[in-house]
């Protein structure tokens, strides 16, 4: 039986002689909610891009549900739902047409599509504006559409880059509930975020990346056992600079 949903082996990527991701190893079991944390430019998004096949790693392997993204990309892509960092929407398609496009490329049956799309539009409060072009949508609406597109095929792995960014608090709660329900059914959730306080009660496992290197992994339950919070653990890994000198401000 397959226990590992996401397996990264010595994943490395270099841009212009700068090592962005360095020998990254990760093993995430099926049904886990994993938070991939780190500051801006640490290599989170690049890792995600390599995981989903948007960027080719210099070396190393990405195995999703036991299949390699490099050698069998189509099979892997049919099992994953992704919210990329720039959301990847087509400007001149409406919200409704985006969902229709996903139905077509993921070969979702008509009955299932109707049920799921209605529920997703309702969940993300997009049903009134479903005729709106993506180019005219606000950042929050684009994010919600991108999330709906990732959830629509009911994938076995959800890979979400900053899913809570741009969402209002109520929407964050609803999304967390939906993701928890999916995880309970066996879907693996891999997400990145900067909002530590809002995910500390939600994620089960975490990894902290700094300058392309994975510096800490663990589970929230272990932290709780040690009397630590996610924020404490995160701050320990980084030097917090002194207050910026902005005497002129104000």
């Amino acid at each position: 039986m397959l226990t590992s949903a996401i397996k990264l082996e010595r994943l490395t990527k270099t841009f212009n002689k700068t090592v962005v991701v360095n020998e990254l190893n990760l093993n995430i079991p099926c049904g886990a909610i994993f938070g991939f944390l780190g500051p801006n430019g640490a290599g989170k998004s690049t890792t995600i891009r390599m995981m989903v096949g948007l960027t080719m790693p210099d070396h190393g392997n990405v195995l999703l549900m036991g299949k390699s993204i490099q050698s069998d990309p189509l099979a892997v892509k049919s099992m994953i739902g992704v919210v990329p960092d720039e959301m990847a929407l087509f400007e001149y398609l409406t919200i409704e047409e985006h969902l229709d496009l996903i139905r077509s490329v993921f070969d979702i049956e008509e009955e299932a599509y109707r049920l799921r799309s209605v529920q997703l539009l309702e969940l993300f409060s997009l049903n009134v504006e479903k005729g709106k072009l993506a180019r005219n949508c606000s950042y929050g609406m684009k994010k919600k559409l991108s999330l709906a597109m990732a959830l629509l095929p009911n994938p076995r792995i959800l890979i979400l880059d900053e899913p809570f960014e741009g969402l209002d608090p109520i929407m964050c709660i609803l999304l967390k509930r939906a993701l928890k329900r999916a995880a309970a059914q066996g879907t693996t959730v891999f997400l990145t975020t900067h909002l530590l306080h809002s995910v500390s009660d939600f994620i089960e496992q975490f990894g902290i990346i700094r300058s392309g290197t994975l510096v800490k992994t663990g589970s929230i339950s272990t932290l709780a056992h040690e009397g630590l919070t996610l924020e404490d653990t995160y701050i320990r890994e980084f030097e917090v600079p002194e207050n910026a000198r902005l005497e002129w401000l104000g």
């Binding site: 841009f15 212009n16 998004s45 690049t46 891009r49 989903v52 096949g53 948007l54 960027t55 080719m56 189509l74 099979a75 892509k77 049919s78 992704v82 990329p84 960092d85 720039e86 959301m87 990847a88 929407l89 087509f90 400007e91 001149y92 398609l93 409406t94 409704e96 047409e97 969902l99 229709d100 496009l101 139905r103 077509s104 490329v105 993921f106 008509e110 599509y113 109707r114 799309s117 209605v118 539009l121 049903n127 009134v128 504006e129 479903k130 005729g131 709106k132 072009l133 005219n136």
Partner: protein
């Protein structure tokens, strides 16, 4: 006026810089080819107005004025303003300064200068018609109105929008369509003005076929070639309208690259055939069945040839930089190979015509084009089958 001078200078500087970056030798080459074809057609029309019998002169004059009116109305595509309205709004300019900037930015374009000269020439040549005063006054009025509309549109329109938001509907189940990917691609291409430019050329060529006598079916290859050239940026870089984020969406789909590319090509072929339809219909009007079939096959061969040129060049980094834009071919560092391909295409036409003439009168007229079409289709399918995503598109930096 003194206050406007720095704005005019700034507008000129920005436009010159933008064009210096965008234009390359290959683009200039293509532009010269198109310009040469248009100039030849216009020369024939001026010649007809000056020399031909009165009835033909009248038809030619009407056609010429119609073309110039269309050129003025299509000004936003012919002379695109390089700085968009929303960027202009960023600067602390008064609305008068903004209007002056936009008008100056449009009028300094050489194409606009060429249209002004042609308009003046066309008005002058109308002296050759009966009742010149009446005809000239009507023509001047039409041109002034068209120029006002064109300049107004160029000032006001930040971009040419075909697709608008659908009316909001409450509670209904989202609609599903057949072939949503193909629909998306067609809509995507309909955003460009190149298609409308090609369609207008086709329409005017068709009109001249019905009402003029200067365009024989054999010469119809000239407008067909201009239309093909207008479509070439799209054939060469079918993903040219997508930014890096939208390319990501294609990369995330669990469909093979060849299928995505074939869908894009199908959308392009449909639009190519639609844009040449008026011309095809007007030519078919004068032909019998065998000739119509031959012409249809020749048109399909042109489409397939364009696709083969595109597919064989699209993996080159330079070809990926070609963007479809409003009525022009743009992109930096276009390969010289592209110009060579166009030159070969142009050179091949009389050659093919010569070979066909050898078999004129028999089934050869039908068999040769069908053989060429079959060979072209087989080549296209073979090239499509071995297509993979260009490495540069799966290996770019996050930005």
């Amino acid at each position: 006026m003194a206050r406007l001078k720095p704005i005019l200078r700034y507008a000129r500087m920005i436009d010159q810089r933008a064009y210096a970056i965008k234009r390359s030798s290959a683009e200039k080459g293509v532009e010269i080819l198109i310009g040469f074809a248009i100039a030849t057609a216009l020369f024939r029309q001026f010649e007809t107005i000056a020399m031909a019998p009165v009835l033909i002169r009248l038809s030619a004059a009407r056609l010429l004025i119609l073309e110039l009116v269309a050129a003025w109305v299509l000004l936003p595509s012919i002379a695109p303003v390089t700085i968009p309205v929303r960027l202009l709004a960023f600067y602390p300019l008064t609305w008068k300064q903004k209007v002056v900037y936009r008008v100056a930015s449009i009028l300094q374009h050489w194409r606009v200068f060429a249209i002004i000269v042609l308009s003046l020439l066309s008005v002058a040549v109308l002296v050759r018609l009966p009742h010149p005063a009446v005809v000239i006054s009507k023509a001047v009025a039409a041109l002034v109105i068209a120029a006002s509309v064109g300049i107004g549109c160029a000032i006001v329109l930040p971009g040419f929008r075909i697709v608008r938001d659908r009316r909001a509907t409450n509670g209904a189940i989202p609609k599903s369509h057949k072939y949503p990917l193909l629909r998306k691609e067609i809509r995507c291409y309909l955003r460009t003005l190149d298609f409308y430019f090609a369609l207008s050329i086709s329409l005017f060529a068709a009109l001249s076929e019905f009402y003029g006598n200067w365009l024989s079916p054999a010469k119809a290859i000239v407008p067909l070639l201009i239309i093909a050239l207008l479509h070439i940026p799209a054939f060469l870089n079918p993903f040219g309208l997508e930014d890096s984020s939208q390319l990501d969406r294609y990369l995330l789909t669990p469909k093979p690259y060849s299928l995505l590319l074939a869908t894009k090509h199908m959308a392009l072929a449909i639009l190519f055939l639609v844009s040449t339809l008026p011309l095809d219909v007007s030519l078919a009007y004068q032909m019998h069945f065998l000739q119509i079939s031959t012409m249809a096959m020749e048109t399909c061969t042109v489409v397939t040839s364009c696709l083969i040129v595109g597919i064989s060049l699209m993996n080159k980094p330079h070809a990926q930089e070609i963007k479809m834009d409003a009525g022009k071919i743009s992109g930096s560092n276009m390969s010289f190979l592209f110009v060579m391909q166009v030159a070969v295409l142009v050179a091949a036409i009389p050659l093919c015509e010569g070979v066909t003439t050898l078999y004129a009168g028999g089934l050869g007229n039908f068999l040769i084009p069908s053989g060429i079409l079959c060979a072209a289709t087989a080549t296209y399918l073979w090239l499509l089958r071995k297509q993979t995503w260009p490495a540069s598109r799966t290996n770019n930096s996050k930005t």
